[in-house]
Every structure is written in structure tokens, then in C-alpha cells.
Amino acid sequence: MADLKTNFLGIESPNPFWLASAPPTDKEYNVRRAFEAGWGGVVWKTLGSEGPPVVNVNGPRYGAIYGADRRLLGLNNIELITDRPLETNLEEIARVKADYPDRAVIVSIMVPCEEAAWKAILPRVAETGADGIELNFGCPHGMSERGMGAAVGQVPEYIEMVTRWCKTHYDKPVIVKLTPNITDIRYPARAARNGGADAVSLINTISSITSVNLDNFSPEPSIDGKGSHGGYCGPAVKPIAMNMVAEIARDPETQGLPISGIGGVTTWRDAAEFMSLGCGTVQVCTAAMTYGFRVVEEMKSGLSQWMDEKGYTSVDDFIGRAVPNVTDWQYLNLNYVAKAKIDQDQCIKCGRCYAACEDTSHQAISMSEDRVFEVMDDECVACNLCVDVCPIEGCISMVPMQPGETDPRTGKVVQADYANWTTHPNNPMARAAE
């Protein structure tokens, strides 16, 4: 079994699976059990300033989106930061860290956007012995209305300023957690780096309304007939999160900035994908909330089995491996030509590929009287839609054409060399290839 040991900003953990700052990490009782279950680290549920804690609603705080068989695909919440006294949390953090020295314990913090507030809380967090802090600039509801969370995360100047305060008043690593509720994630990431952040973590939840009650017309979750936008997370947000991670990983201004990946991590595979896009650790919230702490077992065994199969002995062997392959559309090789191919032995003749291709404008699949479905190479544009809708995994594959072969759709011979849009004759902006 491959060793999953992780070193992130000098903070060591036995594996890259950390619990994200959220209800599963809100108290000692939970965090102890999480560590017993095998989690590599936790980011403690976000702490606020000294004084009376925030209050949560007393009705439903979660909404959901389901796939087939009521599988939870997306979760939305209107929960706030910890609603327990600061003192209680700090005492618990200190006790847990003392008992689990080999696990990462990061403290998430959100206090008002004034230097005094940060200066007050940071020494107290430092006293707990925790390994670092995470600045919660992400929470999209409840806290942002009070000028915290996403309200800070959406203004790069504030991010930079607060990060700098933290670096001034705290010695250990500072991770800045970013909100996805912004047009271009690179700006807040650059601001964090400029402020001296040791790493960024992302994403926090996405502003969302999961459903509307069609009897009383209240958004869900509904509190006495009214609803508020909540934060969306779970498997449904993974594609958005991974794109944002990749944007930061390949931006020349933030390249090399350590990233802790968050958003929809549910299986070992999700984690491996995030890590290949440059994440040193991943954080998990919804999967633990849905299935309980023991899901980490599968994540650990799966990742280590995959590493064994690939011959990787350390997570560093594959972290960031996919980053060079993330590029802009204009640099994609337009000389690459593929065709869909249906494996008749696996095909169950549902006709979904046919309906999809037929009604999505390519009309490249034929259907015979006896329901044999075949791709017509002279029409297939290799869009992949049939692959995506086929219920049988591996039944339809995309077969690349070899250089020298003639594409029956265009009549053109497939070229071996690479050519992209920037030099394409149809591109009015094409730079002549001198």
C-alpha cells in the first residue's frame, strides 16, 4: 500500500484527506471520532470573535438536489459559523491537538474586517497549538451581510489587507479560503498571495436556491414561508471547483502557490483529480455529512491502490501532473480527429445515443429495423454526447484516427502535426505562420 503521507506548508498529516470547516468539525466529540476514523486533518468549524456567539435558524437549514435513487448530488445550507462560545472551542482545539500530534489541526477564523479584531483572536488561536489558520472569506450567507465572509472574499483589496494582518500577528501558516461567488477566481487568489498567504483553499459554497415549494412558493429550505440563498456544495460543485483550482494553478502570478482543494470530494478518484490539478490536500464536507466519517476508509484505500497501480510512492509523484495539460481552447489541436465507435456486444439497444445524436444536430447514428445502432463516420463530429448518455460504461468509445487516414466527414487527410485555432485560416485574427 502506497504511503499517503502528506506535507502541506510544513504541516504533516498521515493522508491528504482533511475535513473541511463545517458541522463535522464543530466540536471535540466529532473531531476525536473523525481522527479515530482515520482522517488526516481537520479545519475546525469557523470561529468568530469573543462575545455572544452567532445564532442559527431554528428550522431547516439544508436543501438538496438528487440524482437517480435519491442519491444526494448537491446540498445547500444557510448555516452560519460556529454558534458555540469562542472559549469552549479554543479549549477543545488545544486538547484535541495535544492528543493527536500527528494530525493536522487548522483553525478557521472569521472576524470583522478590522485589524484589532484579528489582533485579538490570533494569539489565542496560537495558544491552542493548532498547526495553522484558514481565513474564511467564503461564507455566502448570513456572515457576508455583516461585512464578513464572502463580502471580504469578493473584494481583492480586503483579502490582501486581512491576509497581511494575519501574517503580521500570527507565526504559523495562513491559508486563505476563497469564495467561488466571483467572476474570475484569479483576482482573489493573487490578492491572497500578495498579502503573504502561504496557501489558498477553495471552494467555499456557491450561492444557490435548491428548489421552490410549489404549494406556498417559498424557496427551500423554508423558514416560516421564506427562504434565503444558501451555499451549494457536494458532488454537483466539483467541476466548478476543479476549474477554479486549475485557473489558480496555471496563472503565472499564482503558479506554485499551495492549494487545498475543496468541493464535492466524495471518492478517492475525486481526490486524485483535485491533486493532479495541483492540490496538496483535499478537504471534504458533504461526503462526511452524507455518509459519516467512515467514508474516508474508501478514499484512503482507493488512492493508495491507484498509486500502487501507477507506481507512485508518494503523493508528490502526481500532485500537479495535470496542470500542464490545462490550456485555453485556442491551443487545442484541431488536427486531432476521432470517431465514436459502438461495441455491439455491450450495447443493450436502448437507443439513447440515437436520440441524443439525432436531436442534437449531428444525425450521425443509424438505427436499423432490428435496433442495431451504428455510428456513421461520415457524419460523426466526435462530440462525445453519445458516450455521455449511454447507460453502459465503455460501450461507446472515441477512437482517434491515425495520420494519413481520410476523415470521411470532411474528406481531409488526418495530419500528424499539431495545429490550433491561432493559425487556422478561418480565424480572422490568425497570425500568419512566419
Binding site: 437517480a68 435513487d69 435519491r70 443493450i348 439497444k349 436502448c350 437507443g351 439513447r352 440515437y354 436520440a355 438505427m367 435496433r371 447507460p391 453502459i392
Partner: protein, 444 residues
């Protein structure tokens, strides 16, 4: 005290009422909403769905399952009933394992089809539980159509005609409408008086009069019907039964399986219904299986189905065979009856082994005797009471196109007519299609 399985002869009350109630409970219990949701989620919404092609009434199965998925079982029921007004009964009695579910792509994918029949029942039960009828009649056309026989074919035809604005009179020989839904289908497939309730619900469309005790051939003639009505639809089923042609067939204890089943279906109290200790059923179709299984469920000790051909040639589906076996019925293949022995009443049956190849059955000369105080004949029903002057095709009324007989203005469908399998769903399809053809002709 119940008599028990071992009580000799043909006696009533072998089992306690509780045991009987459990035995004759729903074969495929109704889905709870959660079960329906899980089952519906499995449907792939196939293009030109094979299940739909396999359904004799061509119900839009992917659409109705999607309507269940989206929380509208009543809309799903409407989709079903537009094609098959007896969709509730068909959901219970169709041999789905040889129809829609056999064709379901998930049968090919993982040997476990979407449970279309049970989903259909969920939808139709939901709608019928509301007591509403989802269709209304078109403006009256002033045309009158006679339907003979109130089985599935006749009811489907009558309903469609009434919906299209015609006035329909159903002439039914028996005191109750429903045909074999009421008198033939196994009790555990249509529990809780469903057959009768469905007829009542169907008749809510209006414009249909059922004249019970009105039999063609007994006072009622085809000529008179043709004179009195604008069109006639014959759906008289197969009222006759084939003879066994074995010595001793007339001994007490030997009877037609369909009569036994009809009696069972009409019994108010199953513990009052006599059944033998050693029952032998002759035949290999659905009727044979139903008679055997229900004898077993009534408490018979030994029940054997004796079929003269091989298992592969058996009319009853693999599912039916397995059902019988699971209830403890013994299936014997390649045996035919030669004699029933006993002094006045049956005691034993003598069977001869056979070889069956290419359609013909030949006795081997070797025989075996089984204890048999009750023998049921289930060797096929025959057309009886078909009016003179109609051309026949083999042993059924010859029809062409949508049920047109050789006589103008007379249509036929269901078991009595040529073509199609003898199934409830086929009868419904033929009744419906004949109605559309009659309507086209009457509107021309």
C-alpha cells in the same frame, strides 16, 4: 378445526381461514410510493422503446414511468389508459416476463428488467383509488353498436366506442360482466374484487348498457343484432372445452379446470370450497398452472400437472412454471392420460409416457399410475356459440384487419377471433382497434 392436507377425498376446509387468506393474497403486492420511486428510477427512457413495441396495446411505457418519477402517477395512469382501458387488470395479469419486461433493455443489461407491470399497477391504482374516470364522451353520434360478451375485448371495444360518442349495448350471457377477468384469472392475481371494481369504474364513461343474461344463440340472433344496430362486435371468448378422450373421463372427481376456477373466483368463503387430497391437472397452459397452484393453495396434499409434451413446449411461461414449483406443485412432462380408475369416483389416473417431436406426440407404451381423487382437464378452450354464417379460420372466427369478419357490419376480437395470443392484453388491443375501425366506418 381445519381438515388438513391428508383428509381423504374431495373435501372443503383443508386449511384455516388465516392460512387461506395468506395463500390467496396478492401475488405481486402493490408498491408503496418509495418502492415505486426506486423502481421508476431504473428506467432509461429508451428511444422507440422495445418494451412499448412488445406491449400488445403499445402503452408509452417510458413516458408513464417518467410521469411516476416526476410525482404524477395519475398522469401516468392516463397515459396507460389511453392505450389500454384495462391497464389496471393487465398490470396484474399480463405475463410481463414474455412481453414488455422481456424486451426491457435492463433485462439485456443485467437480467433484471424494470418492473413495468408493478409500476403500471401503481399508476392505475392511484388513479382508480380516487374514484374518478379520466375520460369523457364526445358528442353523441346517434349510432348504436351491439357488443356480445363483456370480457376484456368487449369492454375495451365498448369503452372506446362510448368515448367516441356512440351508444353501446353489451349482451352478456353470464350474470356478471368481466369475462375471464371475473371468472378465470387466478385469484391471487386480482385480489380484493378488483375485476368487478374495474368494470364499474370503466362504465363510468357512460353510454354503455350491459344486458346480463342475454346470450347470443339463446333468443338473440346475429341477424336481429345486425338489424337493430349500426354495427356488431363479437367478443364471446372460448366458452367450450376440449374433451380428454381417456377412459373413465366421466367418473366423479373429473371436471373442467375452468369451471373449478370460476367457482373458486366466485366463492365468498374459500374454506367452503372442496378440493381433493391428490389432484392431477391435465394440460400445459396458464389454465393448468392456475388450477394446480390454486388447488395447492386450498390445501391439497399432492398436486401434479401432467403435460403431454416437453417443458420447452409448455404454453405456461418459465415464470408460471417456477411459481407452480415454488408452491409445491409437481410438473410432469411427456405423459398423457389413458384412463381414470376408480369405482364410480376417481381414485387413480393412469398416464402413458410419450415422446414429442415436431408437433406430434407418440405414446411409448410405458404407463404410470398416480393417486388422483380429483382430476382437472385444462387441455384448451374452444369456440362455442358462434353464430352461423361467419367464416372460420381453423377453430376461431376469421378476422382481417382490425377485426373485420366475413359478414359486413360485424367485427370480432379477443379469444374468439383468429390471430393474436389468448391473453387479456391482446383482447383489449383487439377490442380497441375494432372500435376505431367501427368508428371510422360509421363516420364515413
Amino acid at each position: 378445526m381445519a381438515q388438513g392436507q391428508m383428509a381423504p377425498g374431495i373435501v372443503a376446509g383443508r386449511l384455516s381461514s388465516d392460512e387461506l387468506a395468506a395463500n390467496f393474497d396478492d401475488l405481486h403486492p402493490a408498491y408503496a410510493p418509495h418502492e415505486a420511486a426506486v423502481a421508476a428510477d431504473r428506467c432509461y427512457f429508451c428511444y422507440d422503446a422495445p418494451c412499448q413495441t412488445a406491449c400488445p396495446t403499445e402503452i408509452d411505457i417510458p413516458l408513464f414511468i417518467r410521469q411516476i418519477q416526476t410525482g404524477h402517477p395519475e398522469a401516468a395512469a392516463r397515459t396507460i389508459l389511453e392505450q389500454n382501458i384495462l391497464g389496471g387488470m393487465c398490470a396484474r395479469v399480463c405475463p410481463t416476463e414474455t412481453l414488455c419486461e422481456e424486451a426491457c433493455v435492463r433485462e439485456a443489461a443485467e437480467g433484471k428488467p424494470v418492473e413495468i407491470g408493478r409500476l403500471q399497477r401503481y399508476a392505475t391504482d392511484t388513479l382508480m383509488a380516487r374514484g374518478v374516470h379520466p375520460f369523457t364522451r364526445a358528442a353523441s353520434t346517434g349510432k348504436r353498436v351491439a357488443v356480445v360478451g363483456a370480457g376484456p375485448a368487449g369492454l375495451a371495444c365498448a369503452h372506446r366506442l362510448a368515448m367516441l360518442g356512440h351508444d353501446v349495448v353489451i349482451h352478456e350471457a353470464r350474470p356478471k360482466a368481466g369475462g375471464l377477468n371475473e371468472f378465470g384469472i387466478a385469484a391471487y392475481k386480482a385480489t380484493g374484487g378488483f375485476a368487478g371494481a374495474e368494470v364499474d369504474w370503466l362504465l363510468q364513461i357512460g353510454g354503455i348498457t350491459v344486458e346480463q343474461g342475454s346470450a347470443l344463440g339463446q333468443g338473440l340472433t346475429l341477424d336481429a343484432l345486425r338489424a337493430d344496430y349500426d354495427a356488431v362486435f363479437l367478443s364471446i371468448g372460448l366458452a367450450g372445452v376440449n374433451a380428454l378422450r381417456a377412459a373413465g373421463e366421466d367418473k366423479a372427481g373429473v371436471r373442467d379446470a375452468v369451471d373449478f376456477i370460476a367457482e373458486l373466483r366466485q366463492a365468498d368463503d374459500l374454506s367452503a370450497l372442496p378440493v381433493g387430497r391428490n389432484v392431477v391437472v391435465i394440460g400445459g397452459g396458464m389454465t393448468a398452472i392456475d388450477a394446480a397452484v390454486q388447488s395447492k393453495l386450498l390445501g391439497a396434499e399432492n398436486v401434479t400437472v401432467a403435460y403431454r409434451r416437453s417443458r420447452a413446449e409448455m404454453g405456461a411461461s418459465g415464470f408460471e412454471q417456477d411459481l407452480a414449483a415454488s408452491k409445491g406443485v409437481r410438473l410432469m412432462f411427456n405423459v398423457m392420460p389413458v384412463a381414470v380408475h376408480g369405482n364410480g369416483a376417481a381414485v387413480e389416473i393412469e398416464l402413458e409416457y410419450t415422446t414429442s417431436a415436431g408437433g406430434s406426440v407418440t405414446g411409448t407404451g410405458e404407463t404410470v399410475r398416480l393417486a388422483a381423487d380429483q382430476v382437472f382437464k385444462a387441455i384448451g378452450q374452444t369456440l362455442r356459440g358462434a353464430p352461423e354464417g361467419l367464416e372460420l379460420d381453423g377453430r376461431k372466427i376469421k378476422v382481417e384487419g382490425a377485426g373485420r369478419t366475413s359478414v359486413p357490419g360485424v367485427w370480432a376480437g379477443g379469444d374468439c377471433a383468429s390471430g393474436g395470443e389468448d391473453l387479456t392484453v391482446t383482447a383489449v388491443a383487439e377490442g380497441r382497434d375494432a372500435a376505431m375501425d367501427i368508428h371510422a366506418q360509421l363516420s364515413a
